[in-house]
């Protein structure tokens, strides 16, 4: 069968199991958009290419399947660089196809030419410039294999226009042959035995659960390990939901805005069992002062993470689920007796932790009379008035931290956010992608007013394609997190952070984009607005929650500081200012 390169590309995507793709056509990718009309793959037309990338990410987050986006050359390719980098940082499987000018024009500064493979080399797991239409099926098969195996990540395929028009003889490869890419999933039994020995004797162990557990579909295995060994679990920003927040062993989120129990348990642990996390600086604070007395077991599918930040005592390279299952097998007594009986006595540690939990819960104060409306209160009411398996998608900033802190995540794959790159504007398009991937679930974006303004136009895509997401804007009229740092670390000199609560008119804007718009100004209006939003399912809904501009995210560990210097609330602000470390 003779196909054009464009037809071969679409056919290859179909053969790779793609059901949905997100994109926007243009000159160099035009040949491929013709067979899009004949393909069973659903194409969601975006309003900006960045939206296509983040939608593909949201889709991948909640389905576990690779997200696919397709855009044209030049400015479209540069517009999708941010999602590529975001996916690279958070290990999200993506396959992105970009158009390119014809082979004969490459290097001539042709119209809408840019060196896409050159630009994206540093933000993709791998990328391809197709130079022969006959290579298309092989390259597509390789791209999906690379994106979804080992440590997942984004792969880009740059397709020149003449290659799209070139004829090729169709084939589909039996497999992929990549001699330089042999990701290892099985784990070393000797390392497992060493790790098991450390777990048995540890008196103050903590499981440091990272996003790798979600990638490995390891939530059940994690729960079995934690319960069997009776060990507390912290869930990083990327891992919220992998272990139920309501579980008695769950300590919640660690790190810069983690709760006191999670942060301090890690600091004082004698054993950190890191499962698929990467000692990110937002978790460790100053790594020289992080968990100084802890031995470290580090499970990661990417061996380069071992020793990158913290040298582990036991490094286990491999799939997190296989590693956790191997640990369970190694620790479970053959005679069926209680596993904890064979372990060190941890009663003192457990009572210390429960003391912290009692003494230092997350807290805020919603004054009666409803004013000012506290953002944490909004998140709690949303949590309590939406289905338990609601998918929550956040942008980046204060609202993201409040959402992570105050939502109770009891199911894996219900939390979607931009962790590593911290991409403002992530929420709206990622929520749309999540809703496309899980159409029967309720999807709420919890967004900031600054973030919303960056990508809100994708709600037009959602209206047009009938993708009824819901957006809660925690509108504090500021770039709130920056304002918080300026208040604490720059002597309240507020530089370029005021946005205005009224401009834009979010309700009017929402309605102009085909959404329902609701404004909430007091605590009394919160629940009725959420109830109304939940009843609307024929279009997206945007609620403009006017929240307290001065509310800050606590606890907080000042950037670059030690996690021992955690600030619990406003009464600790003076200390923060005194520390005055150069934040980053």
């Amino acid at each position: 069968m003779e196909l054009t390169g464009a037809q071969a590309l679409m056919r290859s995507l179909e053969m790779s199991g793609v059901e949905v793709m997100f994109g926007l056509p243009g000159g160099a990718i035009l040949p491929v958009y013709d067979p899009v009309l004949d393909s069973p793959i659903r194409h969601v037309l975006v309003r900006h290419e960045q939206g296509a990338g983040h939608m593909a990410q949201g889709y991948a987050h909640v389905t576990g399947k690779p997200g696919v986006a397709m855009v044209t050359s030049g400015p479209a390719a540069t517009n999708i660089v941010t999602p590529l980098c975001d996916a690279f940082m958070d290990s999200i499987p993506l396959v992105v196809v970009t158009g390119q000018v014809a082979m004969s024009a490459i290097g001539s500064d042709a119209f809408q030419e840019c060196d896409t493979t050159g630009i994206t080399m540093a933000v993709t797991k791998h990328n391809y410039l197709v130079t022969d239409a006959a290579d298309i099926p092989r390259i597509v098969a390789e791209a999906f294999h690379i994106a979804t195996t080992g440590r997942p990540g984004p792969v880009l395929i740059d397709l020149p226009k003449d290659i799209s028009n070139e004829m090729m003889t169709w084939y589909w490869p039996d497999g992929v042959e990549l001699p330089g890419y042999q990701p290892r999933s099985s784990v070393d039994p000797a390392a497992i035995a060493e790790a098991a020995a450390l777990i048995r004797t540890a008196q103050r162990p903590v499981i440091y659960a990272g996003g790798g557990l979600l990638k490995a579909r390891a939530a059940e295995a994690l729960r079995e390990l934690a319960e069997m060994c009776d060990i507390h679990v912290v869930t990083t920003l990327m891992a919220r939901g992998v272990f139920p927040d309501r579980h008695p062993l769950c300590l919640g989120m660690p790190g810069m805005h983690g709760n006191y129990s999670a942060v301090t348990a890690m600091q004082q642990a004698d054993l950190l069992i890191n499962l698929g996390a990467r000692f990110d600086d937002r978790v460790t604070g100053n790594p020289a002062h992080f968990a100084p007395g802890a031995k470290v077991i580090h499970v990661d599918i990417d061996p380069a993470e071992h020793g990158k930040v913290r040298v582990p005592d036991v490094a286990i390279a491999g799939d997190a689920r296989l590693a956790v299952e191997a640990l369970i097998a190694a620790l479970r007594p053959a005679d069926g007796s209680d596993t904890t009986a064979a372990m060190a006595d941890r009663s003192a540690w457990k009572s210390t932790i429960s003391g912290w939990q009692e003494q230092y819960p997350l807290q805020y104060d919603q004054p009666s009379g409803g004013h000012p409306l506290k953002p944490q209160y909004v998140v709690e009411q949303l949590r309590d008035h939406t289905p338990d398996d609601t998918i929550v998608v956040a942008g980046v900033g204060q609202h993201q931290m409040w959402a992570s802190q105050y939502w109770k995540f009891d199911y894996p794959y219900t939390w979607v956010n931009s962790g590593g790159l911290g991409t403002m504007g992530f929420a709206v398009p990622a929520a749309i992608g999540a809703k496309v991937g899980q159409p029967d679930r309720t999807v709420w974006a919890v967004d900031g007013d600054g973030c919303f303004q960056m990508t809100a136009q994708e709600l037009i895509s959602a209206s047009a394609e009938n993708i009824p997401v819901k957006v809660a804007i925690l509108n504090n009229a500021y770039l709130g997190m920056v304002r918080q740092w300026q208040e604490l670390f720059y002597a309240e000199r507020y530089s370029e952070v005021y946005l205005s609560a009224d401009h834009p008119d979010y309700v009017g804007w929402a309605e102009a984009m085909g959404c329902a718009g609701i404004r909430v100004e007091s605590a009394e209006e919160v629940v009725p607005a959420i109830t109304k939003a939940n009843s609307i399912d024929d279009r997206p809904v945007v609620i403009d929650f006017r929240v307290d501009t001065e509310e800050k995210v606590y606890p907080m560990v000042p950037a670059g500081g030690s996690n021992d210097d955690i600030i619990l609330g406003p009464e600790g602000d003076a200390d923060a200012v005194l520390k005055g470390s150069a934040p980053s």
Binding site: G118, L129, T131, I146, G180, A304, H306, G307, K308
Partner: protein
């Protein structure tokens, strides 16, 4: 590309801590850019780099000499190994390796015989000469090349081109310490 290529850091406040990595890579478009980009963005300091196809033209062998000051050596190998086009990577310890580097130099040669005296000690040869200048070629262990270069300097070293070292594991050497079974 970062790094110094004109001798072993004579003016540097510290001696470089040089390690040699040998990588077999797929001989594909852009592979060198991927490696250079990786070194640049991870803050690894390339001292010298030599690349050419192996006996199998589908693959190239790259010898990278890295100044590992403040850098975890295993990180370099592990990060390189993550590149899809890198087939394998190993570290060559100088004591377990044979190393060579080629130098071409345009030197003052009013006294050609004196120049020949210097380079013949290193097995070098004169490739071209006029009344007052010569182009010489010397292939030797990089440390010996450094010495040869110093000895040529008094003649007037007008142009110097060194290739960066290439290295192979010595025949009786043990297996690599940082071998990545890729």
């Amino acid at each position: 590309m970062s790094g110094q290529v004109d001798g072993a850091g004579a003016s540097s406040p510290r001696e470089p801590d040089l390690h040699i990595f040998a990588a077999i890579v797929e001989n594909k478009f852009g592979v060198l850019a991927r490696i250079a980009g990786l070194f640049s963005r991870r803050g690894f300091n390339i001292f010298s780099l030599a690349v050419a196809p192996t006996d199998d033209p589908a693959y190239s062998r790259i010898t990278i000499v890295v100044d590992v000051h403040n850098t975890d050596v295993t990180q370099i190998a592990k990060q390189l190994d993550k590149l899809i086009n890198v087939i394998n990577i190993s570290e060559l310890h100088p004591s377990d390796s044979v190393e060579r580097e080629l130098m071409l130099a345009r030197v003052g040669a009013v006294d050609l015989a004196a120049v020949v005296d210097v380079i013949s000690e290193y097995g070098g040869e004169v490739l071209d000469h006029t009344d007052d200048e010569a182009i010489v070629s010397v292939s030797a262990h990089p440390d010996r090349l450094d010495r040869c270069e110093r000895q040529l300097r008094p003649f007037g070293l007008h142009v110097l081109q060194r290739t960066g070292r290439i290295a192979l594991r010595a025949l009786d050497a043990s297996e690599p310490a940082v071998g990545m079974a890729s």
